[in-house]
Each structure stands twice: as C-alpha cells, then as structure tokens.
C-alpha cells in the first residue's frame, strides 16, 4: 500500500467514525461511490463512470440512485467532471 492510500484508509476509518457519531455529510451511497472513486483514481488520474458503477462497493446500487449520488458528489465538490472531451470521466478531490 502506498503512503497516499494509507492516508486514504485512515481517512475512511475516520469517515466511518463520523457516521456513527452523526457528523456525516455524505449519504451511505455517496460515501461508497466516493470510496470506490478514490480507489480507482489511484490507478488513473480520471475515473470513468463505467468502471465506477462496476466497483464492488457500488454494485448493489441501482443506476438512478448511482447517478443521483454522483451528481450530488459533484455538486458538493468531492468530484468534478474531467475537462477532457469525453463525458463520464471524473476527477476525485482529496485527500491531497
């Protein structure tokens, strides 16, 4: 595991604490998509919707819920659409 991914794991642990303590800002689906996107973004700078929807954390989520949560993540600033020509590509923000 790289140093960045250790930081990510630590951050994920704190986020699970956040949920129990009622301090959360993201819904469970949004959080799972964000975890999955963080994991996928380690391999490539951009995350494709196609890859994201097939991630084990997201597989059980219906498509409408997935896209609603993805839109919400973009609105909240956790992810943003890639500037490249292809749609369906996202950049994950943080941890930096």
């Amino acid at each position: 595991m790289t140093e960045i991914s250790k930081l990510t794991e630590l951050r994920k642990l704190m986020q699970s604490m956040e949920r129990t303590l009622g301090l959360e800002e993201l819904s469970p689906v949004e959080r799972d998509i964000y975890y999955a996107a963080e994991e996928l973004s380690k391999r490539n700078d951009e995350v494709r919707t196609f890859g994201l929807i097939e991630h084990t954390l997201v597989q059980s989520v219906s498509r409408p819920t997935f896209f609603r949560a993805l839109k919400s993540l973009v609105q909240k600033g956790y992810m943003s659409q890639s500037g490249s020509a292809n749609r369906g590509r996202y950049i994950v923000h943080g941890p930096k």
Partner: protein, 187 residues
C-alpha cells in the same frame, strides 16, 4: 527500503509527539483537575492510539516502525533505566501487542486490516484497542509489579487515548478539507 524508513520516521514521530502531548500537557492538566487521583498514570494516553492505528495500517511492520519512538520515550521517562530487562520487556509489549491482536483476529476469520473493497470499521479497531489495552496493561503491570489502581488507570488512559486520537484525526482531516476548499465548495 525507502518506504520502511519513511514509515518508521512517521510512526515513531507520531508516537513521540503523542507522548510529549500526554506527559507535558495532558498529565499536568489531570493533576490540576484531579489532584486526589492516586495513580500517576495518564487518564488520556494518546500513544496507545498511535500504537493501534500503526498496527492497523502497517501490520507487522509497525513493530519496527514504532520501536525507535518507543525507545526514545522510555529513555526520556526512565533515563539509563531504559536498558533494564523489565523496561526492554515493556517496550517489546508496547510495540508487539497491537499487531498480534490484529493478526489473531485475522486468523480467526475477522480481517480488520484496510481493504480497498470494504468499509473500515472504527468500532472494531476500537475493540482491538481495548483488547490490546487489557493485554498491555496486564503484562506491563506484571513486569513492573504495579498496584490494581494503576492497571485501571492504564485501561482508562489507553481507551480514551485511542478514541480522542481518532477524534482528533477526524477534526484534523475536516480542518484540512476546509482549508483546501473541499468543504467550502459545497456550502
């Protein structure tokens, strides 16, 4: 090799900083607010949190990564007594117990180590921290022959230390996100 050096530097520094905070700030405050408390042990022992989180993140490597920090803290507290067999044994207990508990859980089919395809369970990590605290407190008290009050104080200090360290990290990440603009964008 470079990664091991980096991990060792990070984990040991975290252990030393947590110890300095505990001994130089929290314990004097404890003595002001609870002057009648009979034990000299800290009721908020942050280094236990560093031990548990290092073991969770690094596995066996946390033993090596924490050893310089633990040695430095024992030397700061006990001076040349750091080379006494009882102190060396206490150091071994301090660095090895948490990874042993995590790997025991794994061998029993309860793998709590970070996994990119699973959500981490902070309450499970707290549980390991509590079991580790029982073992560390018990073994350390056996080594030093301390009183029962010390044992209870070690337990309280370890458990609260782990919880508040995690809470501190949570707010640290939150503050970092806020400064880097991640939170303000959604408001």
């Amino acid at each position: 090799m470079q990664r091991w050096v980096f991990e060792t530097l990070l984990a040991s520094s975290a252990y030393v900083i947590a110890s300095v905070l505990t001994f130089e700030i929290l314990m004097p405050l404890q003595n002001i607010f609870f002057p009648e408390y009979p034990s000299h042990a800290s009721l908020l022992f942050l280094p236990h949190g560093v031990r548990v989180l290092s073991a969770w993140l690094l596995g066996w490597r946390s033993i090596i990564a924490l050893l310089p920090g633990v040695f430095l803290v024992f030397a700061m507290v006990g001076g040349w007594d750091v080379f006494l067999p009882s102190r060396l044994f206490a150091m071994a207990i301090a660095v090895a117990t948490a990874p042993i508990v995590f790997y025991s859980c794994k061998w029993l089919g309860w793998d709590l180590f970070p996994n990119p395809h699973q959500r981490p369970c902070w309450l499970c990590v707290m549980g390991v921290g509590i079991v580790t605290s029982f073992l560390v407190s018990g073994l350390t008290n056996l080594t030093f022959g301390s009183a029962a009050a010390e044992y209870i104080a070690f337990l309280i200090g370890d458990i609260s230390g782990l919880f508040f360290l995690m809470l501190g990290l949570y707010f640290g990440f939150w503050f970092f996100d806020k400064r880097s603009g991640l939170i303000s964008r959604e408001e």
